[in-house]
Symmetry: C2
DNA sequence: CTAATTTATGGTGAATTTTACCATAATATT
DNA sequence: AATATTATGGTAAAATTCACCATAAATTAG
């Protein structure tokens, strides 16, 4: 928390790897793409197996280098669209990793081009997401709790994204970006449980709290899913939600 | 909230300014440096007047370009240390702005070097902060509500940082990074009022809530400040705070 | 010196929210 | 027809928030 008085020391006077010439960068965008399998209650993240060095044959987050004339967010959408086809998603910037030598291609002594990674965080609708990258053996959903050692600092980025996802879910309506247009209250509950852990809240209290927020519209339509009383289908009312914020 | 089906269209097929060659970047770091003048109850941000084009004579956030071998955070500390001398501060990364043509130096048609801005957010102890940049007419604290039109997209970065500051104050103990080692409960209250607005909470209730959190140690020492009953000096107990988190 | 003013502190009780349950309804399964 | 399962709409206790108040201990005003 406290930053100690080292602040006024000049790094360039102590670290022989720092000189006053400016660094030249290529900028990469790495996406942490989450989805929730509501059938099996699993939180998934999309990984790709690298074909080239560095980290050949390691799994990694989908990434790309930013092209001339392309914005960071465009690059994030592009890499996403190259790997999966999906219509409903939420996407926002996560964090920028840019320490020197994060990429082994950057030799420690030579001051060549550096690689910066701007990470984005996405949540997509699992049911409609179609993996389109080839070969299929090189792309896969992994359960977040079962991801292996990844390339670069991607485990760190993933962990950061996972924290962001949990926070976002608690105070913003991103769940309704990836739920179907019409859903039951139990659908919402299952999604929250899958992301936040089994025992995050009592179902009955969760329902009451959700309805009290006032932005879920009961369509009146009932659906039966296996045993039990049929459940009402609800819709998210984005306008009502906006009005709440003011 | 919803991202519409434009996602699977290739930007490069529609935007003539995009081609498949990679962009080359210089990376800048821009700091939003806040402090709270507890005497006058003003929330301040540090601005510099630019000497060169683009935006010559505009006020701007302190920024620098990242050097070879220098991490992003090192660059943030360096630019801060060049402008002010301070021992107590909080610093974290804010957001990365990197759309094409954010810098007028980037000609719209030529695909020359692009400039990326990684912004950092800092809160420093106002009383000990000493401005060291010269000439003094080119550096100044501005009240956040009185900031003029700034260079680049710096007004946007400032607004983003201001939101982050308000959020951070509500759920993390950054206030104690810039308060003196020993402080009264009123000191804390004034800081919160200055940042979050006059009527954010009742003083008596704020006190009760703060003490109930259990990480403020009463030193027993009393101080008199003008009229009124003397106040107790408290210390922030970082260890007790950590224990709360588990 | 005395009274008024000012600030700190530690309350109260009402209103609201959270929490742990429970009862019933309406379906599928046995 | 009985049982199991899920949805729904409750309850009441516990905890928290909120508006407000009383007293203590200092300075300041008269």
């Amino acid at each position: 928390m406290k930053c100690k008085p080292t602040i006024n020391t000049e790094p360039s006077e102590r670290n022989p790897l720092v000189n006053k010439a400016l660094a030249n960068f290529k900028v990469g965008v790495d996406n942490v793409i989450f989805s929730v399998d509501t059938q099996l209650n699993r939180l998934l993240v999309l990984l790709l197996k690298r074909k080239e060095e560095p980290f050949a044959n390691y799994w990694s987050l989908p990434g790309t280098l930013v092209r001339q004339g392309e914005s960071l967010q465009d690059a994030a959408y592009r890499i996403l669209a190259e790997k999966i086809r999906v219509n409903n998603l939420y996407l926002e910037q996560l964090y920028t990793f840019g320490g020197p030598r994060r990429d082994p291609r950057e030799a420690p002594e030579s001051f060549g081009v550096r690689y910066l990674s701007v990470s984005y965080f996405a949540l997509v609708r699992y049911e409609e997401a179609e993996l389109i990258a080839r070969p299929v053996s090189n792309i896969s959903w992994y359960q977040v709790k079962e991801v292996p050692k990844l390339a670069f600092e991607h485990n760190q980025i993933l962990e950061y994204g996972y924290q962001r996802l949990k926070n976002k879910l608690e105070y913003s309506p991103i769940a309704f970006d990836v739920l179907p247009e019409e859903f039951t209250l139990n659908d919402v509950y299952q999604l929250y449980c899958t992301v936040l852990g089994e025992n995050f809240a009592d179902y009955s209290n969760f329902r009451a709290r959700l309805l009290k927020l006032g932005f879920l519209l009961d369509t009146g339509v009932k659906v039966c899913r296996g045993a039990g009383r049929p459940a009402s289908l609800y819709r998210f009312d984005a306008k009502a939600f906006q009005d709440k914020l003011i």
